[in-house]
Symmetry: C2
Subunit: 315 residues, 2 copies
Amino acid sequence: METSTLRGKHLSARPGMESGAAFIDGEVVPIGEAKISILDTGFSRSDVTYDVVGLWEGAFFRLDYHLDRFERSCRELRMTLPYDRQEIVDILTELVVASDLRDSYVEVICTRGIINPSRDPRTFENRFYAYAVPFVWLLPEDEGEKGMEAIIARTVERISPRAIDPTVKNFHWGDLNKALYEAYDRGARYPILLNAEGNVTEGAGYNVFALIDGRLLTPASGTLRGGTQKTVIELAEAEGIPTEIRDVPEAEFRQGEELFSTTTAGGVMPITSLDGEPVGDGKVGPVTRKLRDLYWAAHRDPRYITPVDYPDAPR
Amino acid sequence: METSTLRGKHLSARPGMESGAAFIDGEVVPIGEAKISILDTGFSRSDVTYDVVGLWEGAFFRLDYHLDRFERSCRELRMTLPYDRQEIVDILTELVVASDLRDSYVEVICTRGIINPSRDPRTFENRFYAYAVPFVWLLPEDEGEKGMEAIIARTVERISPRAIDPTVKNFHWGDLNKALYEAYDRGARYPILLNAEGNVTEGAGYNVFALIDGRLLTPASGTLRGGTQKTVIELAEAEGIPTEIRDVPEAEFRQGEELFSTTTAGGVMPITSLDGEPVGDGKVGPVTRKLRDLYWAAHRDPRYITPVDYPDAPR
């Protein structure tokens, strides 16, 4: 456990940044003023990767894991980050201190950069952006017992890994967006997408798990290898719950006695209905509950956290 | 042929906008100052559609066709444009007059809007942006006789229409970007992507055609139905050259006596080599040349153009 601090620089909360702060073009600005060029190919070609780190009770959760993955994503896209690891940690620290957030959704972004007349992406200057905003709950915080109403999307399939590598975290959300609208049309809020072979992949920003005969299954391909997914697998295995990362056909997924999803933006989220039918008895299952409790307990585990050295006394 | 003008408003070229002008949040600004929020889901979820209109010798080319397609794309994504057709024409006119451009690449963009705590895209306020910059030549203007060195991409396949509808013009360019880098690695600059079935789709921003036994073939699925593609089909048919819009297997495409690509950003562009081998004799073929000439001649055809009423005498 090491403490993160911006060495040699006085840090403090800044007025006007209560809703969040962003790092744009070398400056820390209020999130409402955080803007990027319309000619940044991160926008106009979605030529961008990103990652999200949770900050909980004033400590980053699995910071190195997320920054390792982010750096790998940049390498895969042949982008070069303009800042090294320590500089990025310093920037993120400055953002959460400036906004005085203790529970925060912290995003790091690298884009190919602004297009130039050559239109050759190898010549663009890669850009780094970051921001910290209040913690995001993909399933609203007061709906933890209600759980998610999910659907298996019928109108769209997940983008193939042969077209876009889903392990490089990306903003290609067109399929997920379409599935979201299908969910709304069907009276639900949380879509799950299949791939062309009919296997379950992931939802709109979350991995999924099924508990079948005491084993936890989670899809192996066509999905991001999520950080929360990874943590849950580690916690399950420590509890003696076997896990399998492999192809999960739709029919098998539907046999789940318990279903849940995982994301940094909310942790372990029970899926209590699927296509309008209750999952199990329609309540949060015991294994899901156990893993959810363990997940939040891990947020105080020194092995996982990087406390921020706030200048003021804890609130 | 109708003249486009911003009624009831004095228009003039503005200093500082020679490199282009943009319409952002209701204001016309120099292109270098055109910025969008980092929380706009057009960026952070690529939840956006766009279209491009060419301006040539002071006249928009097929303005209504492009704006029709743009409005259809918005409807398909269930977005509502905050401006009607005439207002959009007025904005585009203001942009090209402000920048005093006579040959311009004019882009219209609609995004889902800025994310809010509900994270429900139905509640976001859809945003319209536009900009005009100097005309873009995807194949540099002085390389028209040299033509394009193309490759068939091997490392990536085109995103499936079952995941993302390619007829709704979008910024999901991850597959195209990867193919571009493959082209560079192989000593070329212009990739062409196959779909999962091994049929030719399109390139990084352009449709493709093959001339085989006097017939023009162009892929039917997995591609944008391009505006320049459409114009070329119309011009070819008027010349008595039969055209077929259908699946084109890779092997058949390779039999092309002539190959060319089409895009607003450059028109009809000869493909003179494929995977390092010359196409035909490696020179611009007669049908390609004929269609390229007809394409540019059409830019003076009153049926196709909408002249801009510039306040100053023509330069």
